[in-house]
Symmetry: C2
Subunit: 179 residues, 2 copies
């Protein structure tokens, strides 16, 4: 009887942490993507950010489906997002092309990360009403990551504009319906 | 009269954003530290993380002194801290020494970042009572950064232990009085 109760409690505990575990996988994939940028393995980094986006989608779904949404989960999600869809894509693009511009390239990468942080902070203190205000960082980060595939096809300076536009879309006040 | 009122409003707005601006400088310094790790300029990176720590100390002081603490500021602070004292120190140590261990070195760096995120998330959802629970990420990140100076003096495998111990101290439940 004691054992059954203990087992039940453990299962409940594991269930309540399932979404947070998926969030930490997202964070781990983002951090790994950064380490691959360090080793100049940029295509592996791109793949890892893409997988992180799948896990990011998954954790919210699991939390809602299992009815285990929590304030801690929300905080952890933001911290994972700034790594996987802020820092990782910015570094990928920097190492892929923006570094060729020297200081301005670095500056634009930092602006992207800073705007991502502002977007996440604002989102966390705003009541949800079925709309996103500004482009979500997951979307901006994934789009920036995918532009990496265009490096051989469009002029280098285009990437400066793309980075800046995506950064400003994150902190802009236009509304997108949540899906 | 209209101009004076407008000026007064603008000054109030700037004042209210002063602490957030300092927080964004902290984030910018952390992001720049990461870019310098990418270029293998590790000592510059170390310097930038140290300056970020000064700005991190400053934003809280300014917010309290000017009585402009805000929920948005708190969120932005966490997001800056995970970059400047989570990702940046972990990458600095990885590029400085941990990379020599291959996968385990990468794994330990990711563990450090993940524990930092858990520490920050937990801190944000816990009521303040004059104590920190677990080592604050700023302290852990700065200590990890400073150990970089020991690379020529102690055996390489020590850095694996140091990274892991600091990571676990962040998520441990020991209490430190706030200063």
């Amino acid at each position: 009887m004691f054992l059954l109760h203990h087992l039940d409690q453990t299962i409940k505990k594991i269930k309540s942490q399932a979404a947070n575990f998926i969030t930490l996988v997202n964070l781990g994939l983002g951090a790994m993507a950064i380490l691959f940028v360090l080793q100049n393995e940029l295509r592996t980094s791109l793949l890892l950010i893409t997988i992180a986006a799948v896990f990011d989608r998954l954790d919210g779904m699991v939390a809602r489906k299992m009815n285990i949404t929590s304030e801690l989960g929300k905080q952890l999600d933001s911290l994972s997002d700034i790594i996987s869809f802020g820092v990782a894509p910015a570094l990928l693009l920097y190492q892929g092309i923006l570094f060729t511009f020297g200081m301005p390239g670095a500056f634009f990468s930092i602006i992207f990360i800073a705007c991502g942080a502002i977007r996440l902070a604002r989102f966390n203190v705003t009541e949800s009403n079925g709309f996103f205000v500004g482009l979500p960082i997951t979307a901006a980060g994934c789009l920036l990551t995918l532009t990496f595939l265009l490096i051989d096809f469009i002029p280098a300076y285009h990437f400066m504009f793309i980075t800046l536009i995506l950064a400003f879309l994150m902190i802009s006040s236009f509304k997108v319906k949540k899906v």
